[in-house]
């Protein structure tokens, strides 16, 4: 959403338009109370722990395993969404077929559907006695209570990111380069690889980063399907909650801080990618 090019004459606007004090005051107060203050509470608690203890918590086998699982499952989910999202964006922009508008609308389901609902449905579907599980488990492929289940839940909740990032860029793509390439006898796949893909790449990266960030943070859908097996299918945010439930406030704060830092890093990466994407596109997706 950020960093569109500034209005033509910002300084004049600043002088002319009213309401800076009021809107700024409201914004700072709200962000301060709702966002900053709670985050500061976490950081203060984290600082209280001390570096040695902090490191000990993070390097405990169970914490490491949880972080590793979270990252790996988020990676798996993102790989799937990168492929699926690109396919959907391509199909929705480039082809005409009956039901296309419905398919387009369906892409937003994972954002509109509460994650707990998604988790409930997915865990029941993939359970050994569910529609999918009954099909997959005889083939020796177990989803529920494995990393695959975690990845499935994560990928479901972050489906729209890649589609919605790539779609507008693909729509606005100037067809003349493609046509030139085709006239010159290039194979359609070569055209895609050499002409289209580079143009959508920055937006694609934004979508992938957002998808990854959301997967890392997903909780509601995952806890229903993961099974919470320590060292195996326990995601980091759940471990933070479990530490809390064990009265281990330091442990909870340390893990929460780590996730916060990872999220902020990803936010920075996505902002950078977005800034790059803007060179290709006038407005944000």
């Amino acid at each position: 959403m950020t960093a569109s090019p500034p209005p033509a004459s910002p300084l004049r606007a600043k002088r002319v338009l009213p309401g800076f004090g009021l809107t700024m005051g409201v914004t700072l107060t709200y962000v301060g109370v709702i966002v900053l203050l709670p985050v500061v509470a976490l950081v203060l608690k984290g600082a209280e722990i001390g570096p040695a203890r902090f490191f000990a918590i993070l390097s405990a086998p169970r914490t490491l395993a949880a972080l590793q699982l979270t990252l790996l499952a988020a990676f798996m989910a993102t790989v799937f969404n990168a492929a699926y999202g690109l396919l959907m964006a391509w199909v929705l922009v480039r082809y005409d077929f009956p039901g296309k508008r419905i398919l387009d609308a369906l892409m937003d389901i994972p954002f509109a559907l509460p994650t707990a609902v998604a988790g409930l449905a997915l865990s029941a579907l993939f359970a050994g006695n569910g529609w999918y599980g009954a099909l997959l488990e005889p083939m020796g492929f177990k989803v529920v209570f494995t990393i695959w289940g975690v990845a499935v839940a994560m990928s479901f909740t972050s489906i729209p990111f890649v589609v919605r990032a790539v779609q507008p860029v693909l729509e606005d793509l100037d067809p003349q380069y493609e046509q030139a390439a085709i006239t010159l006898g290039a194979h359609p796949f070569t055209v895609f690889r050499r002409v289209i893909f580079p143009a959508i790449l920055p937006a694609y990266m934004v979508g992938i980063t957002l998808s990854f960030a959301r997967s890392l943070g997903e909780f509601g859908a995952v806890v229903f399907i993961a099974g919470n097996l320590p060292m195996k299918t326990e995601i980091a945010s759940l471990l933070a909650v479990i530490r809390l439930e064990e009265y281990d406030y330091n442990g909870a704060a340390a893990i929460a801080m780590t996730l916060l830092v990872i999220a902020l890093l990803l936010l920075a990466v996505s902002n950078l990618a977005q800034a790059r994407a803007l060179r290709y596109k006038g407005k944000t997706a």
């Binding site: 950020t2 914004t27 709670p38 990928s155 067809p175 085709i182 999220a263």
Partner: protein
Amino acid sequence: MTASAHVTAGALAPRESRLVPRLLIGLALLLTAVFVVVPMVYIFHRAFAAGWSVFAANIAEPGTLHAIWLTALVAVITVPVNVGFGIAAAWALARFRFPGRKALLVLIEIPFSISPIIAGICYLLLYGRQGLLGPWLLAHDVQILFALPGIVLVTMFVTSPFVVREVLPLMEAQGSEQEQAAVTLGASGWQIFRRVTLPNIRWALLYGAVLCGARAVGEFGGVSVVSGSIRGQTNTLPLQIDLLFNDLNIVGAFAAASTLTLIALVVLVLKAVMESRRG
């Protein structure tokens, strides 16, 4: 959007066999059916598995009714507040340049990128009896956690970026020429906002409000940390699903889930309508 698609598809058509598009469309339909459509259908399937009357009885169960009521209440408080905040923030950020603007932009986006469960833990560390403000709250007999205020605050945290992120890019893209003209003509700030800005951003605003509402209704992780899950008191609908599931009332859980799915579908329709209005 279909118009431009025609052009390019037409351009590629002579070289491309019909097979590739058909395969890709088929694959897209199959994957979407498996991953998006079937889970939704499944919720209704399970909710109505025991028939309409059982479904109705489950929805009319006092705990679930109260959860519906509480969830609606949380959304009704959260959405207007975030709309107000969204307008203020978008105005300040789109119409003015000031030091620290970039930092503020990042700050506003934080809730969108951190896990709601972390948000819940943050609030616990702030307002909990052993938290930063806990002793003060206790001394003044203010109950924030495990009550409506805590649930609303966490929901506000999680949903705060939704309106801004819809309105801000639009206001930036539109520029401020019209508003400046209005100032020259002697209009007051409130008049400018109502007559000039609001008509331009109203669909984006509504759209942001709908997304914010959808998220407020569905928030689970953050609220689960601060709710205390008192039956018929502090259980929102998503928490009620979890509770019913653990009560071994699976049909009830799916019935509650189906109401949320219905809300999600309404949101989708609203969104489609607004997108066509927005152009």
